[in-house]
Amino acid sequence: MLTLDLLINGFVIGVFYALMAIGLSLIFGILKVVNFAHGEFYMVGAYAYTLTALMLGISPWLSLPFAFFVGLVVGLIVERLLMRPLYSGYTSWGLMRDEYAVIVTFGLSLFLINLVDKIVGPYAFKGPALVDISRIALGPILISGHRLIAAVVAASIIVVVALVIRFSFWGRQIQAVAQNRLGASLAGIDTAKASAIVFSLAGGLAAVSGALLANIFNATPDVGVFPAIKSYVIVVLGGMGSVPGSIIASIILGVLESFGGVYISYQYRDTFGLFILILFLLFRPQGLFGEKAREV
């Protein structure tokens, strides 16, 4: 019974991880950089959800799309102001791109954490639950009502996003730019627009993830740090830039942590993913499903 319980719980956590990691993976696919401020999109979403629901007293079901919208806007602004230099001079990308991306996104992460810490304060806000049912019996196991509903919402969003990326016109443009930016632009695709869409979508998804989890991990200024680190593990595990890869890797990581926390060590459960990350970076940097992109 414990095994099944751990499996389900790990799976549910994995769904939340996936919601966040997809955006990071799409950003890597299209800009070939890691967004070190991804956790702060999550944090912004957690606050947008919690504060609107608590202060304005509106239904959490309205706060949720609002959090998504806030994430979209923040992502779009960040892309316009900070990510443009990464591709506006495509032909003269130097070796300095990575370092630029690290500095700017890491600085942005510090900036947002401390700004929120100053404006909202360091206190934790518990997000309202989406449903009032405290426990739902799922076959033989019990799961918290909010967690189950939130996981269903997250899973539906993931399915929609995956389908949009795969089949829609915009989604195909994004895929084309991820494969070959120059080629896509020669084929008439507005690569700047594709990058803007990806970045704001990634911001929105991370924000929804933060909103859905605000009931479980209370909103604090640095609440996004750990989910972001999990997402880094996931995108490497699943292959940078691969959406199906990140979804599968999220589930694997969620289940692994769930079991590892019981059977190996609860104290060190957060380090498992990081060990996996280092091992993968060393021996299979293209991840489980990614294409080989490492320069040697």
């Binding site: 890597f28 070939k32 950089v33 890691v34 070190f36 102001l81 900070l82 443009r84 230099p85 506006s88 001079g89 032909t91 003269s92 130097g94 070796l95 300095m96 791109r97 990575d98 370092e99 630029y100 991306a101 690290v102 500095i103 700017v104 890491f106 600085g107 942005l108 992460s109 510090l110 900036f111 954490i113 401390n114 700004l115 100053k118 740090v225 680190i229 880094y232 593990v233 490497v236 940078m240 104290q267 060190y268 957060d270 380090t271 990081l274 060990f275 990350l277 280092i278 970076l281 060393l282 940097p285 490492r294 320069e295 040697v296």
Partner: protein, 325 residues
């Protein structure tokens, strides 16, 4: 040897002497600042300056963007702290041990990541930093976890610490200057500018990268150990990502890839942040904002701005190109 007349070597000499000038100002500062609190602030700035100089060697001169600059400081502090806690070892034993342990860990990390580049390197060092911090903070039986560890002091008076830190910082700065002037410094910069080209000209990439990682880690370990003995209390918070963020901010604001940048940046950022603390504590917001602005528009930091004001050429290629190019 490298031709002494080259513009790089002239520029480095200018940077070196300006940084020594800053340190000379620091040396006479206690005659004016007699307040123990502010002397302590300058001592902590010197700790940050050492970490910043070490990170700059790795990121600014070798192009290896590690996200673990604070971690090696934490490792150094814990090596000497644990040695004295369990074995009663004095600082004479603890500090060299901290340098060696940090250096060896840096060496192994360097060997591990030597083939990784860009985002992969940043991610590996980031997870290394978090693993080290989580291990120290969760190994409560050994390190007392988040409770922190008391470390014995070395001296009685604050000024003794002040001049010890200053002497070490000057020694580090002189060492870095001669390293960068030497053939090795040229190799490091060659790796930063174009690794493949450097390899094709016979630079032993693996050896020099590992060398930079080891040296940077050893300097950070030294800084951490000295800080531990000064503060007499250490905790896993020394290795927080935000600490690494502060160190990176110092270098970026001061000037990445320059000898002055880390020194000037560390004093400027830390001392100003202590001033700003009285005005609502917006210091980290301001500095993070400055990092974004400098990273986005002024890639050589304040030192680059100063040099531009005196009409000199940029030394790093600009990353920002016009959209139409």
């Amino acid at each position: 040897m490298v031709a002494n007349k080259s513009s790089t070597s002239v520029r480095q000499r200018v940077e070196f002497f300006v940084s020594l000038g800053i340190l000379a100002l620091i040396a006479v500062l206690p005659t004016m600042v007699t307040n123990a609190y502010w002397q302590g602030v300058v001592i902590v700035s010197m700790y940050f300056a050492m970490l910043a100089a070490a990170w700059n060697l790795l990121a600014g001169y070798t192009g290896q963007f590690s996200l673990a600059p604070a971690t090696f400081g934490m490792i150094g502090a814990y090596v000497t702290g644990l040695l004295s806690y369990y074995y009663g070892a004095t600082a004479i034993v603890g500090i060299p041990a901290a340098v060696i342990v940090a250096g060896v860990i840096g060496l192994s990390l360097g060997r591990i990541v030597m083939r990784l580049r860009g985002p992969y390197l940043a991610l590996t060092t980031l997870s290394f930093a978090e693993i080290m911090r989580l291990v120290i903070s969760n190994s409560i039986d050994i390190t007392r976890g988040d409770l922190g560890l008391n470390v014995p002091g070395i001296f009685q008076g604050r000024l003794a610490y002040y001049y010890m830190m200053l002497a070490v910082l000057v020694a580090i700065q002189i060492g870095l200057y001669f390293l960068l002037r030497s053939r090795g410094g040229l190799y490091l910069r060659a790796i930063r500018d174009d690794e493949i080209a450097a390899a094709s000209r016979g630079v032993k990439i693996v050896w020099w990268k590992t060398y930079a990682f080891t040296l940077s880690a050893a300097i950070s370990g030294l800084a951490g150990a000295l800080y531990g003995h000064f503060a007499q209390f250490i905790s896993p918070e020394l290795g927080l990502l935000s600490q690494s963020g502060i160190i990176i901010s110092m270098v970026v604001i001061g000037g990445l890839g320059t000898l002055v940048g880390p020194i000037g940046g560390a004093f400027l950022v830390y001392v100003t942040s202590e001033f700003l603390r009285d005005f609502g504590g917006y210091q980290l917001v301001v500095f993070a904002f400055l990092v974004i602005i400098f990273g986005r528009f002024f890639r050589e930091g304040l030192w680059g701005l100063l040099r531009a004001a005196f009409g000199e050429r940029r030394s790093l290629p600009p990353v920002v190109q016009a959209a139409s190019e």
